[in-house]
Homo-oligomer: 343 residues x 2
């Protein structure tokens, strides 16, 4: 994986992180403000409407300070006193919980802007707040989600890979946002190999794991129990593991999925390649509901996001937890520093 984004290497100063607004009717701005106020976030700037941020602070009687910036490099000097904001005015007034179609373009542009900052070497990485896909689709957005849009902006040709990462567990689903029936129908040896290769590379580059150990989950109960409960293990997963091992990747399995995620098992691998969404998401969200981070692998820059949605039901109340966003910020900063130290 190439480390395309130039970094302020040798200067000893890390570049700031660029954070997108996400869906403004969701909790993005609130958790961004709370993450900044926690004083445990690495320096970042938020691409958002400064006026509506001031209104949130007023409405919630929060004492936080924001400061508009014109350039990313103002961030380090400001960050200890105020949250730096790259002001991008919204077209319509924001009502918590109710997305406005006139704001969709700003949501999309904030993502584009964040990518431009990393591509031009002014930001170290992109941290995205949750979007509301339907609002963007209605406004003509042509991508299934963040990940595919970012891949398009980054001009990469292999599909990016989604990792969910917490301090205790890293999981990578091969099939993602499809029904169980479609996951079954679309599970392919090639996709397992590609996903595992990108994962192994990222574990080396971004997580400084020199010889990553990948545990590959089976699809069926007991990993098929020798064919008695499904043959996808022998037909699809085992050949993929054999190819990975021929490539020198330490991939093992297929492992029975139910005994793969407990504490002792987690010590035996660095990441699990999972066959479907919930096989990956159930264990990590069970272990660490607030702290898991969504990491996009296979892009030429670092991108993370909190592992939750817009939370319309509590938007505007200030109650949303900043924990996952904070974890996403710190993980992105760490990943960027590692890529930088290698570049």
């Amino acid at each position: 994986m190439s480390s395309a984004a130039p970094q302020a290497s040798g200067s000893g100063k890390a570049l700031p992180l660029a954070m997108t607004m996400g869906e403004p009717a969701g909790v993005g701005a609130e958790i961004a403000l709370k993450a900044w106020a926690s004083k445990s976030a690495p320096p970042f700037f938020l691409i958002d409407d400064a006026n509506r941020l001031r209104k949130i602070i007023d409405d919630l009687c929060w004492g936080m300070s924001i400061k508009e910036i014109q350039a990313a490099d103002e961030t380090p000097g400001i960050f200890t006193k105020s949250l730096p904001v790259l002001h991008r005015p919204l077209n319509a007034e924001v009502i918590a919980g109710i997305p406005h179609p006139d704001n969709a373009a700003s949501v999309i542009n904030a993502i584009r802007t964040a990518v431009e900052f990393v591509q031009s070497g002014q930001a170290s990485s992109v941290v995205t707040n949750p979007i509301h896909k339907k609002s963007l689709y209605d406004a003509g957005f042509k991508f299934p989600g963040h990940t595919e849009f970012l891949a398009n902006l980054a001009e990469v040709d292999t599909p990016p890979v989604m990792m969910l990462a917490s301090p205790e567990l890293k999981v990578v689903p091969v099939t993602i946002h499809v029904s169980i029936a479609d996951a079954l129908a679309s599970l392919k040896e090639d996709d397992i190999v590609t996903t595992a290769k990108i994962t192994a590379q990222s574990l080396e580059d971004d997580f400084a794991i020199s010889a990553p150990r990948l545990a590959v989950a089976g699809l069926n109960p007991h990993a098929g129990e020798g064919g008695g409960m499904g043959n996808e293990e022998s037909a699809i997963i085992e050949p993929a593991i054999a190819r990975l091992r021929q490539l020198g990747i330490d991939a093992t399995g297929p492992w029975p999925p139910d005994t793969l995620f407990h504490e002792a098992a987690r010590k035996t691998y660095d990441a699990v390649i999972c066959m479907y969404h919930d096989q990956a998401l159930i264990p990590i969200k069970t272990i660490d509901f607030d702290g898991a981070v969504n990491v996009t692998l296979g892009l030429p820059f670092v991108r993370t996001s909190p592992d939750h949605g817009t939370a319309f039901d509590i938007a505007g109340t200030g109650r949303a937890s900043e924990k996952s966003l904070l974890a996403a910020l710190n993980m992105a900063a760490d990943m960027a520093a590692r890529r930088n130290s290698q570049g």
Copy 2:
């Protein structure tokens, strides 16, 4: 649910539990001895070959004492000093890790004997050690597993239900030991309703939960996200929940599976009705690998077992953990006491 097994009600003395040998080449005897030696098990007797138990104790240099009994009611007077053993000699010498076909009949008979003891009111419940299915099949055993054999012995006509229970979580899969493809093909509204009804009844009778709350999981990621990722939720699961609610059962859902098992979510229900094996088993084994107990619901007597297999790889070493068997013993004793107090 009828409480068929007579109990020593009013006597103030609980009946002993009957424990089967399970596959003798597995870890059953070792964990039974360790569970007894822990001094935290309720009084139980083991149906096994006393001579081979003495050999295990010698081989492992354990200081435990066993004592042969002729009748279950000898158990309470012996239990503090020795593990009571109902001697049932095996036909072939036991080699750890290698099942001998000549011993299969004894394995099956131990299960039958345990059931006879509860049916005749001499034991409070059945606790089974892990069996090795293939060895029994090869010997002509006609049942898929313990559960179906016990249902046959108990002469119940509805299929029994498997619950996995730990102090933190109870899960009940509607489809069990089938491939993911077969789980999809066989998932039926009626089976969800039947499973949930038996579960609700057991939570009342066996776990003393007066108005049990059942969370019903979706099948697909995000519970299908309104049909965008599968329609089993609207076609199968929602109608089942509606029927359960009409029956006065507090069933809710379908819930997104990945956000259903974390600590805060677990406080909102008493058990989760799951659509497939790993949806149930992944979270409970991730949370509590050693402590989960397999409970058979829908039988006229209490039956539990440890939630693990024969562990041939460590059989004979004494290293197998007795934790799950101990949890199974204590859960069975508690369940039997509750049924008894209602009878």
